[in-house]
Subunit: 345 residues, 4 copies
């Protein structure tokens, strides 16, 4: 029998709770032994809800008091580098939520730390573990639709992210905090890196939601040109109100593949023929990607048990950050931006 | 150029209006030259709406005054035999709505008349002309799903049929007036005749709708055993309120085929994530089978132009009547009924 | 923190492996500490695959050597009573696969044993824990579609059950081994007990599969009349080859609710316009009901942790057995059978 | 009774045949009395197939020999202006296929001619007559999804257009010949004019298909910014091989609306659980928009009968041409292009 992996959960907010729930109920090979969050009330509630024995203000305290094998970092993006580096330094494997970091220098520092201390790094691209996305990727790689020519990926979310996550002064805004997954998915499905990016944004609800945020946008369309010659589209709407909507579509030389649907559950109801059929929509991201979260965390735990490199790591995380930076520069400067402007070299 | 077929429409009620609309707008090779209905106001409205030049109380008058090639009979079932026989006697081709007649003797008399006067007879089984039903039948006949083992067909309709059509003293009730199509479809898809029938009925809304009708039912489930050994199911609900619902499913030794869906239109709307996705349902039978009606009437017209025997004729109509009689006897006597009890011989 | 529930898995066959996988990977609050199966090679493979520490020929040996809280019984139906009774006698909570037993006397004996020894009993009706079935039941109970008038439930499975499970001399055949869930689901959704049952069966592949089994059937359609006046349908096809197909539909006075679909995954592919769109189908029952299995076993474990009565117990199991017995008598005697003939009283 | 409208069909190619079929079979209020096409064999076949009495090399000949009320122009784009102007001059109403013309000056000349001679002009935007598109537009206009924020529209077609239609030296290429409808649909659904356009194109199959065509592309993604602030996307793939794929999606402040689907027919087949479910896809544009073609031509005929201005006229046609010109300029110059650069003023 393999040894259960002991985890320190860092962050007791929305993502921290989601991952704690996934591990505590459905990843039997992992166990959360400690919780870290500076806000005591939030921390206490999460610890109680998921039966986590120890909880602390800081990772330093947890490192001092409890034995564990790995950290799962779900705190705001600006904290990713210091926390990941500290964990790595203490020999803890690192599961890091997306976006990996604010810029490429931070990505590089994180990758250097995990390499130096020989710990595993996984970035939270759960779509890479979501059964229908995995099946699509496998079918594309098997050549079923031929060479990919065009890829589309969207994330439309019902609620506003926290304030820091939609302000370009403290984060990279929606393109990073909501659409990170689309950057990763389009690159994954296309099997090629981005060459050039053009972005249009719109602000429809900003006056109501964010009176003082410069460059706030709640709608974004990114036009991608890949190194392969292929085209790509990323679409973001947040808040969209109608549900959590994450789908993708790839057109290859030989065919099309669609991934995901708006349907949240195989239930159809009709009680009024003038209204029509009603089907549950996926309401939230925890519902939409429940298997993605379970499988990515199970994968992380299994990689630790078997000393294997996780599938979605620093390279993937860094590319998504580079895309976000190019996309943001594009709408600020109202022109297409080449990745080489961001990556240098 | 072929000569446009001149039609006398008999019956200006719901079905008469539906067929007049189909011919006047979308069957360019036919033309309604006369309308017959004893109710003057109904007749006048229908004649005006569809630009029909002549209208009469009786078929006799129409025969006397106007030249035409064919009749389309949409009047109540008990009138089918006398009208069809009179039309045939005058050399008019006959399109006859389902159910063909009240009993097998009437069916036989209609078939004898059209044979004697060498006119064409088509029975209004429009599912045999509805593209998805036709495609399914062709795939079954081509052996795609192997020998059919089980067939299911349902018709659930939103509104009550007219009083005469739900009273066993004046018609054969819902099994005939609503589910005639299912009798025909199950036999068509199974490629075999019924051997034995067992029927359960229920009456949920009868107290409100039909206080004085004995044996009224608004739900019916018929269990069929075919000569081939296959099984069948007919399901009827009327009034069901939620829309017009007509689907079928066949399971063969090698696979399954499903025909139809509740979706009425390729539109999906969501404005409330707690409610979910909304898709129009087919509200009414004219919508649901719009192509079936156009194609069956175009087929009738083309058969006349080319002197060809129509695809759905007296034999099909008679079998459906036989099934209805067996199904009704079954629930009245609470036992399985063999078709040979109905067919004799 | 709640204490993890220690489980002895009884049966290392298909169902035993499925449940072992569910618990070992995804029910973190339970732990399989022992495995019982008389076939050593099967047992060894399952124990290895799921990291189960101890394994034994018999439950007696397990009881003697290992401490545990509960058994999960996945062995053939005829063994259910002796194993369940022995476990109960030793104070172990009992999770029992469907069908509960071969006859009502065995059901009664199991219920008496768990009552006497004050242990919990759950019967493996995982549809009662499958999200879309649960959602449908809640919507029906909330009155969304009004009083249920008609309920349809089908289970069509791709592979033949083991020989004992399709022979009426050693089991109750397909109606029990495949369609037990449909008996339970129709009764659950209708909110009423069966009054009368009529069954038609067909044998299409028997000559190839089962030359020597009397009364073998591979297709079954059951027509149900409920105490409430409602109608029901159970459909079974096994082996059907095309996938694992389990759906339900309920029509109430105010509307319709459909549960389940053939679609196995939100992926659509098209590479040939003459063939059309391809969508994965659910291939197997473990895939189809993956959440049902996880949630029913998590429910069992949580009930033990919190000393709560499980939702699907002996009463539900016994009713399904009664339905099976009536349905079987019906096709053997070619007549509708009242439940009172089976239940006596 | 209204007088049947007499039509001269100009062009006996793919679109001419499609419209001849629609009128001859399903637009009973119209009648094709003459066919014009300079290629005699094509003309003869079309005339025979649809029973058209007279056919000619040129419109001049038809005007000279036959009486008619209107022309339906389906010839290549460069011929639109001279033919439309000649027809108008002779008092014939004009139905003109999309794209309206090659440039804005031609559009203006056509609009001036129909105005001068007081004839009706309809441009062939059949999506404006396709039931699901109409229903969506009505729901958007009724405010159901709030102010539109983002609109997406795609046309992916299976076959290459004729050579002239994909060469920028003789047409405006795919953006015009395939995606004209998307220009119109996005503007219609957004309820606003284009402000700015950015286009990326790709050429995957050009080497095989078009060795000598400069700037050939078979994939295009257009990013639109509307005057309203809204965003838009047009996607084109041609040839795509997998079917005829035309869908749209609009996200408003309050919700989402999706229009169209890949499903071609309500038939689902499964015979191999490893392959999965098979559903017919729409194979061709005549199938996909069969109702759009019937209804737009019926609308044209009814407008003539009732002296009403058609819904999709010169203004709509001209805007689509302006969008095409901006989109083409964008990919040639690799920058966003403002509509004011095209429209002047």
């Amino acid at each position: 029998m393999k040894k259960q992996v002991r985890i320190c959960m860092i962050g007791a907010g929305r993502v921290g709770r989601n991952h704690s729930n996934a591990i505590t109920r459905h990843v039997a090979q992992g166990k959360i032994v400690a919780l870290v969050d500076p806000m005591e009330s939030v921390r206490a509630e999460t610890a109680t809800d998921f039966g986590i024995e120890y909880s602390f203000d800081t990772l330093e305290q947890a490192l001092d008091k409890v034995e564990f094998d790995a950290v799962v970092i779900t705190t705001p993006t600006p904290t990713h580098l210091p926390i990941a580096a500290l964990a790595a330094e203490h020999g803890k494997h690192v599961f890091l939520e997306k976006p990996m970091a604010l810029n490429l220098a931070e990505c590089d520092a994180i990758m250097a730390a995990v390499e130096k201390y020989k710990v595993l790094l996984q970035v939270g691209f759960m779509r890479r573990f979501t059964p229908e996305f995995v099946a699509a990727a496998e079918r594309i790689e098997a050549g079923e639709i031929g060479t990919p020519m065009m890829v589309k990926s969207n994330t439309h979310g019902p609620g506003l992210p926290p304030l820091w996550a939609r302000d370009l002064r403290t984060s990279n805004g929606m393109l990073a905090e909501v659409n990170s997954h689309d950057w990763d998915t389009t690159r994954w499905f296309m099997g090629s890196d981005y060459l050039r990016v053009y972005t249009e944004v719109a602000n429809f609800k900003g006056a109501a939601n964010n009176p003082d945020i410069p460059h706030f946008y709640d709608n974004v369309l990114v036009n991608l040109k890949f190194e392969s010659g292929g085209l790509g589209l990323i679409s973001g709407v947040c808040p969209c109100g109608y549900g959590y909507d994450a789908r993708a579509e790839v057109i290859g030389e030989k065919g099309i593949i669609q991934v995901g649907s708006l349907n949240g559950q195989a239930v159809v109801v009709c009680t009024n023929r003038d209204q029509g059929l009603i089907t549950p929509i996926t309401r939230t991201w925890p519902e939409r990607f429940i298997w993605g979260y379970i499988y990515e965390l199970e994968h992380f735990v299994n990689c630790i048990q078997t000393e294997t490199t996780p599938k979605a790591g620093g390279v993937e995380g860094r590319w998504a950050v580079a895309g976000v930076l190019a996309g943001t520069k594009s709408f600020l400067e109202e022109r297409p931006v080449y990745l080489k402007e961001i990556l240098g070299g």
